[in-house]
């Protein structure tokens, strides 16, 4: 077996083992834990970058390493690194749990790395469960008023139901195709996709991924979990975990080879429902994390537009969108974590006067939310543009018009956030925020990436296209 192919995953496992070791130590030291985590995660990014060009199969062909999986692994490693960078003041989690906190972040990343490479149904299922269970533990780790437990239970219950439904669907797919290997299924499924059993099986299977991505009607957990979990965990759920979900959703939809009109119709309906419900509900939110949760529900709808196009450019656009979403959301959470540095929930009204307390954070937030709204010259605009272009090419013009109307609705609540940061003045004068130099560098780098890739998307787009080709095979 070529172990080198499994390198990013092995490194993640070693990282998890290191944190396990730290958790065993009798005395906790948050500073030390943080430094170790940043160091290990940064090496993880390097390793996943180095392994981008690898390709091959492992574990009796149940596990495929190709550009598609490796690009997503880089995104996951990057997501983990950036989320750990937000943990300088990890006040939302009790100090004695810090090593465990990093441990479960790492195991979740490991599981999602497996998820994007898995090409066998049971492997996919196990990877998905492992990533979910890590998050089920992370959510109630929060120190606080008790909403964490409620959120954790809600997440577990919805997640368990979704995975049960998914397992049921998998059994149908197995029943129809007599195999659990994706490559085999891809050959058989398009020919039988019009049969009710195959269709029901696929739809039920997709439920598990819809849950991860918070697509309607599996979105109920998102606002409560976003609010209940500590800011950093929410950041992880909102970014890296979403990226993993996008990857596997693409893998499963690609199974049909674009042969099912019904599946497209179902995805169109889910996409419209997610966008509309997410956006309309976000308008009334007062809590920043809840707002981001509803916004994530709507963005799941936008990603679906790329996926349901079921073409190479559609998948490439969805990959690009996932990159864009990762960066923009991380920018938002960077601001949330730094403004609510005591680990509390951030109300939108608390952003008042941010432009004077920290002009850099205010600008980061403004660009990030404008990016989420799809305003150029940010990466968010380019992402939407690519997704919509792919959809129009497949004849989904009405869907794109609906999505654009939704983008306009979303602009309303995003502007409320900008308004709070730039126009509102706090009731009592608040001191300037003390932002550390690494955070400033991080914010500057994220803003630069957002704008530069937004203006010149060529290279990222080419990588996404090449990765999407691997998926179509």
């Amino acid at each position: 077996m070529k172990w080198i192919l499994f390198l990013p995953e092995i490194y993640c496992l070693l990282m998890a083992a290191a944190f396990f070791g730290l958790a065993m130590l009798p005395r906790t030291n948050p500073r030390r834990d943080y430094q170790v985590a940043v160091l290990l995660a940064s090496v993880g990014v390097l390793i996943s970058l180095m392994s981008v060009r690898l390709h091959g199969t492992l574990f009796f062909e149940a596990y495929r390493i190709d550009l598609f999986s490796q690009v997503f692994k880089v995104m996951l490693a990057m997501g983990l690194f950036l989320v750990i960078c937000l943990c300088t003041e990890l006040r939302g989690v009790e100090e004695r749990y810090h090593p465990e906190f990093y441990l479960f972040l790492t195991t979740c990343t490991f599981a999602m790395m497996m998820l994007v490479s898995a090409v066998e149904l049971l492997t996919i299922y196990i990877a998905l469960e492992l990533s979910s269970y890590s998050l089920y533990i992370l959510v109630p780790l929060r120190r606080g008023p008790g909403t964490d437990v409620e959120a954790g239970i809600k997440y577990l219950m919805v997640g368990a139901s979704a995975s049960a439904v998914m397992l049921f669907g998998l059994s149908y797919i197995f029943g129809v195709t007599h195999t659990t290997y994706v490559a085999e299924i891809m050959k058989i499924l398009p020919t039988v996709i019009t049969t009710p059993a195959a269709m029901i099986g696929l739809l039920l299977t997709l439920c598990g991924f819809f849950f991860k991505l918070a697509v309607f009607p599996f979105h109920f957990w998102a606002p409560d979990v976003y609010q209940g979990a500590s800011n950093q965990v929410t950041a992880f759920i909102a970014t890296a975990s979403k990226v993993g979900a996008v990857a596997i959703l693409m893998r499963m939809v690609a199974l049909t080879g674009g042969a099912s009109k019904y599946l497209v119709d179902v995805l169109v309906v889910l996409s419209i429902a997610s966008m509309t419900i997410g956006n309309l509900t976000a308008i009334v939110q007062k809590d920043m994390k809840r707002l981001l949760a509803y916004s994530s529900i709507s963005h799941a709808g936008y990603v679906l537009i790329g996926i349901l196009s079921m073409s190479a450019s559609g998948y490439a656009s969805a990959i690009f969108y996932a990159v864009a979403y990762l960066i923009m959301n991380l920018c938002c959470f960077l601001v949330v974590v730094n403004v609510a540095y005591d680990g509390s929930d951030l109300k939108i009204a608390q952003l008042a006067g941010l432009h004077r307390r920290s002009p850099l954070l205010a600008m980061t937030l403004m660009l990030a939310v404008f990016g989420l709204a799809g305003i150029p010259p940010t990466i968010g605009f380019t992402g939407k543009f690519l997704v919509f272009a792919a959809a129009v090419a497949r004849g989904h013009l009405v869907l794109v018009i609906i999505a654009m109307i939704n983008a306009t609705i979303s602009l309303y609540y995003y502007i409320l956030v900008v308004k709070a940061a730039y126009l509102l003045e706090p009731d009592v004068e608040m001191e300037r925020l003390n932002i550390s130099m690494p955070t400033k560098v991080l914010a500057g780098a994220l803003v630069a990436v957002m704008v530069v890739i937004g203006i010149y998307p060529h290279h990222v787009l080419e990588v996404a296209r090449a990765a999407a080709k691997g998926l179509m095979m």
Partner: protein, 490 residues
């Protein structure tokens, strides 16, 4: 890669972008330096656009000063800038309004850095739309020019500023919600895998149905920004809420983006769609002219008066476009220019009066010409231009449009002319009640406009008069594009 000897058009964009970046790095307290940087950046745009206007070869016509670089290969996106007879007047207009707008805001003291940075960003977007010949870039610049309006109005504005800013932003972006699908629809259906307008506008690229469908989306999308009735409601509210220079840019330049978008994207790419929907365009434009005039009649707020007169005057642009004739196109583009300068002068004059008196309600003013004769003079010139007095730029524009519309739509043309009489009536009433008659003693001590603050208004008056006396300066340029375009129609 094809580049002209010197990338003048890119230099215009860069002067705005570099000005913006320099301002970002200047400390907030160095207000004077920030203003000078903005002034220099805007002066550079004036110099270059004037040079382009003069150097444009009218005998050759067509696209000149072309800059074309492949941007995203897989999607056929080009960084493609060029000038022709249609966008040259717009570039000149934008640079003049920006320069005078910066001078008008010279006394600003509140959050100076952000104000000028956002203004330069907005104007960079405007320049980008006018000069770009690539659909993707047109859309990108279009959105770039829209979103700075929100903070510019919401922070520095007055009179229900947050409501005005939000309404404006949502309306305009709702418009762009139709534009993007239309652009993608054209891109996909062309089968050429390019966003290059010159390639897409080749005859036979789109079927008549595709043209009709896409034109409608584009007309409605861009029409919102052009203030086409009944999608104009954001416009008077936004004008009133915005600070002086933003009103100038907004009414003077930004509304032209909408009309220009209809021309450059809708009419260029979907000429058959244009001809098909021309009747509808003419009806909506006439409604706008009549409605703007009558609603303007009832206003007591000076800025609302100008806001509704803008709706009426932009209706003239729409009517010109709807005639599908050379005269109509000439008139429409000339009117875009003339109205831009005139409205900038209007808002700049009202801005001065408002800054000093803190009111823009007509009944509270009165006899202002005895208190500030020079400032009043500027407003009166703008009002006369608005009425369409000969020897001022808008006279020629309106004349051309009405000549063309009488030939094509006699009834609608007559209606529009009648509305213009109403508009003249209300403008003269405003002038009479605000600047003549009993003077309000409360304002008797107020100073008249100084030379420095008067300078931007003087420039605007000079432009109105020059192009009023020598309309051929402008018409000769516009014709280089309008005549070949109309003659090339199927």
């Amino acid at each position: 890669m094809e580049f002209a000897n010197f990338p003048y058009l890119t230099a215009i964009l860069l002067s705005c972008v570099i000005g913006l970046l320099v301002i970002l790095f200047i400390p907030e307290e160095r207000q004077m330096l920030i203003k000078w940087v903005s002034l220099i950046a805007s002066a550079v745009t004036v110099v270059i656009s004037l040079y382009l206007f003069v150097a444009y070869n009218k005998t050759l016509g067509g696209l000149q000063f072309v800059e074309k670089v492949l941007w995203v290969k897989s999607l056929g996106i080009y960084y493609f800038n060029a000038v022709d007879g249609f966008n040259l007047p717009m570039l000149l207009l934008t640079s003049i309004v920006l320069f005078t707008g910066v001078l008008t805001m010279w006394e600003l003291e509140n959050r100076v850095k952000e104000f000028f940075a956002l203004t330069l960003l907005l104007v960079a977007g405007v320049f980008g739309v006018f000069m770009s010949m690539d659909l993707f870039f047109i859309f990108v610049w279009y959105d770039v020019s829209l979103f700075p309006m929100y903070p510019l109005i919401a922070v520095w504005g007055s009179t229900r500023k947050e409501y005005g800013a939000m309404k404006l932003t949502l309306y305009l972006l709702a418009g762009s919600a139709l534009i993007l699908p239309a652009i993608l629809y054209l891109f996909v259906n062309s089968g050429l895998n390019t966003f290059d307008i010159t390639a897409l506008m080749q005859p036979g690229t789109f079927t008549p149905f595709q043209q009709k469908f896409a034109f409608l989306l584009l007309y409605l999308g861009f029409g919102v920004l052009a203030g086409v009735w009944p999608f104009h409601t954001w416009s008077p509210v936004g004008h009133v809420a915005a600070p002086t220079s933003v009103s100038m840019i907004h009414a003077g330049v930004l509304m032209k983006l909408g009309a220009f978008g209809v021309l450059r994207v809708g009419i260029f790419l979907c000429p058959e769609g244009w001809q098909y929907w021309a009747q509808l365009m003419a009806v909506l434009a006439t409604c706008g002219i009549v409605y703007g005039a009558f609603v303007g009649l009832a206003q007591t707020d000076l800025k609302y008066v100008i806001g509704y007169s803008s709706v009426s005057h932009m209706g003239i642009v729409g009517l010109g476009l709807a005639t599908v004739t050379v005269d109509g196109l000439n008139g429409a583009v000339f009117q875009m220019f003339a109205h831009g300068v005139m409205t900038a002068l209007f808002f700049s004059s009202v801005g001065y009066i408002y800054d000093k008196t803190h009111t823009k309600m007509i009944p509270e003013l009165g006899g202002m010409s005895k208190i500030m004769p020079v400032a009043s003079g500027y407003f009166i010139v703008a009002a006369l231009a608005g009425i369409g007095v000969p020897c001022l730029a808008s006279f020629w524009a309106e004349l051309l449009v009405f000549l063309a519309s009488f030939k094509v739509y006699p009834v609608r043309g007559a209606l529009a002319i009648c509305a213009l009489v109403v508009s003249a009536l209300f403008m003269l009433r405003v002038v009479q009640r605000t600047f003549y008659g009993e003077k309000n003693e409360r304002f008797a001590h107020l100073p008249d406009v100084s030379f420095g603050l008067g300078l931007p208004r003087m420039i605007l008056v000079a432009v109105i008069v020059i192009f009023g006396l020598f309309p051929s300066l402008m018409l000769d340029v516009i014709q280089t594009s309008s005549i070949p375009f109309i003659h090339g129609l199927p």
